[in-house]
Symmetry: C2
Subunit: 447 residues, 2 copies
């Protein structure tokens, strides 16, 4: 194989980040584009046992099918076992960002296909620089600006230190063709605007710009690991048995560590992170040092932070401010509170129901659809969970399950006028169990 530069770059990267053991089996995410075709050839040449997975996104009609056919031919010619997945991303994403949905679905299917092997993706130094710029512009903080990690769980990126021009040269010199995604060449997407309008200017300033961004990422990840570790130790020291945190360990930290520890405390309380802004962290910092020993602070998604003398607690909003009831129609997919989403749909006759912790299947014949709603618990709510004992009050069930008082009002109760059907984190009433008739699937998700 010609062009040892790319082989060397990949071998260096694999060794430096301990990505693979010699001869290890690895699954290549193969789009058929220049980057992933090179990755397949390089890993094979370096002696790894390569398998490939191609996902047909069905987004670009005939072009998607051409890409799949190309991958099949390439793998057949090189003796690489190929797995092809199909998914209709456009239908899955339902108006949400297509690229983000595609990304998540791709990784999910890849992990499934990997069966525990490492997964190699073909991200390059150019992809990394684009990602860094994107996060810089979007304001995703130091974490975003550190770019694409060389290793994340089972996912490895052996070409991360190689540049696109090296990859193109490698393919040219080896006479290997590849497919071109027509959406890559247009300026339709943000990433392509960066690729075609910004990267050439930056390379004009410094030919080594992409390598500079990679070095920055390594430094920032190291700094983050150090500060994140200190925040973790702060939380461990501060945590009381009742779930509140002592303020003193937080106050003893440098603001850089304190901010990270507060963010992590909010995450552990179940708060979705994306809406937690720097202003909330600053307000939390003021709460810690407030002279008022019962100071309180509203956070997004119905969460509050409360001082309890020398401690503080982050939790869903306390009793007395119950979220309002929301009538439900079928099908339904919407937010009850900022933190909780409810999904209802009738199951097809032949459809198999998969039980998970907050997915329930009820008999439609037992439900009064006119009064069907999601609401907070009410005095008198009762539920029968097992054949043995009779029904018990929801309050008792919540105490048994050790659900903190402050969080009880935030749990979704699905009910109709004859009573409780199902309760988030608790279960479904036995009287609603499906029989032979139509079935309603109830999903309750933390948002």
């Amino acid at each position: 194989m010609r062009n040892n530069g790319l082989l060397r770059s990949a071998a260096d990267t694999i060794r430096r980040f301990a990505m693979l053991r010699p001869g290890e089996r690895v699954l290549v995410a193969l789009s058929g584009g220049a980057d992933s075709v090179s990755l397949l050839l390089v890993l094979q040449e370096l002696g790894y046992e390569v398998r490939a997975f191609h996902l047909n996104h069905c987004l670009r009609g005939a072009e998607s099918d051409r890409d799949e056919a190309f991958c099949r031919a390439l793998c057949a010619a090189r003796g690489v076992p190929l797995n092809v997945g199909r998914c209709d991303i456009a239908a899955l994403s339902q108006g949400k960002a297509v690229e983000e949905t595609a990304r998540r679905e791709r990784y999910r299917l890849l992990e499934q296909a990997a069966e525990g092997d490492k997964i190699a993706t073909a991200h390059t130094a150019d992809d990394n620089l684009e990602t860094v710029l994107f996060h810089l512009v979007r304001g995703s903080g130091a974490k975003g600006v550190s770019g694409i990690p060389p290793v994340r769980g089972a996912v490895i990126r052996p070409l991360l230190f190689a540049e696109r021009r090296e990859i193109e040269a490698f393919l040219r010199e080896n006479g290997q063709d590849y497919v071109t995604d027509s959406s890559n060449l247009s300026d339709d997407y943000t990433r392509n605007r960066l690729r075609h309008s910004v990267l050439p200017v930056l390379r004009g300033i410094n030919e080594q710009a992409a390598q500079a961004a990679l070095r920055l990422g390594e430094q920032l990840r190291q700094d983050e690991a150090c500060l994140g570790g200190q925040a973790e130790r702060c939380l461990q020291t501060a945590l009381r048995a009742d779930g509140a945190y002592l303020t003193a360990p937080f106050l003893a930290c440098h603001p850089a560590v304190q901010g990270r520890a507060l963010r992590e405390a909010a995450r552990r309380a179940g708060m979705p992170m994306r809406d937690l802004a720097q202003t909330h962290i600053e307000a939390l910092e003021r709460l810690l040092s407030s002279a008022d020993p019962s100071a309180q602070l509203d956070l997004p998604h119905g969460f509050t932070a409360r001082r309890e003398y020398e401690a503080f607690r982050i939790a869903p909003r306390a009793c007395g401010v119950q979220p309002a009831a929301l009538p439900l129609t079928v099908p339904f997919d919407g937010l009850w509170t900022d933190g909780t989403r409810v999904k209802l749909r009738k199951l097809e006759k032949s459809e198999v129901f998969y039980k998970t912790v907050n997915t329930f299947c009820a008999d439609c014949g037992t439900i009064d659809f006119a009064s069907l709603c999601v609401r907070a618990r009410q005095t008198g709510d009762r539920l029968r969970l097992t054949e043995k004992g009779g029904s018990r009050t929801l309050k008792k069930l919540m105490i048994d399950r050790k659900i903190p008082a402050a969080e009880r009002d935030a749990l979704a109760v699905i009910a109709d006028r004859s009573g409780v059907i199902a309760v988030q984190d608790i279960g479904m009433d036995l009287s609603r169990r499906p029989g032979n008739g139509a079935r309603l699937e109830i999903k309750i998700e933390r948002n």
Copy 2:
């Protein structure tokens, strides 16, 4: 004054970073361009006692004079005391980067003119984003990517959170004109390439891109302060009375802190920082944990790091590996070692010689130019420094001056075949003192 937005932005920034006390006196760096004219107006409107300083760079001929005249007229109209400095940057920079030279000279003259007052410069959110991109591309690490600090010593930037479009709107609405630097409009300079080709694309992705970069900078500066503080404490704990550092406190640190502490240890040993790469830091880290208790490592500029059992030392290269002798011609300007530059020139008859610590003036008549050289000390080197005592060995003089043994071989000795003429950090032999004839100026500089 119309357009309160800019006034509010400046007032917020001044308060948030405690830049000025109410009514405090402040010197504005006034170029006559949109940004600095706005800064002058805004600070005056906010009630501060404003003075201005304009530097005529003499780089752009008639345009430079037009700018000066504009500043004079503006300050006269607004009752602002104006100080005008002139300097020929092109002559000063002598082939070095004109922009960098101009920048340094501008700050030097500003500090002189400020007489202890705060100095306000007109950097904007746009300038900051350009700086961040520049450092990202150049690979200046997290410190560079954190951008322009709001406050650095006496220098404050009240418009740092304002965007260029706000400034232009402010001037338009107040009917205030300003001058335009013709070099700003061309794509000649790196900064202008970023300004005109990259910023518009980034703003197209996120209108708030410049504010995102400012937030990133605040986070990175806070992280740096935290990690830098920990590195400082590591050094304090590790430092022995003899100038070596114990390895244990370094080894107890997270790599993010260890790297910073090693970098600072090298800086304190006198090493120029610009050539200390990440690979050197990694080699130093290996030295710390090496099983060899006298392991040694070469660093740039003739420095070495040596393990001394459970300690290590960074110092100029040790005895036994003396730098080679270098023959000298006149005039001369070159490196003897990576760390030391020697300059020789004959002084004009009427020229005044300025004595500094490593600048010597010798009588050409006493010198054998054929054997003139710079070299490391040799056994037997002697020097007579004062009229009183006779000559003494160089070794004794070095011990008297408390020059550490490890550094003695790195000192430049200027000599000819009849002996030592002058020694770096020590002095010149009396026998070479200038008389009425031709004089040779000898300069020894640390590079």
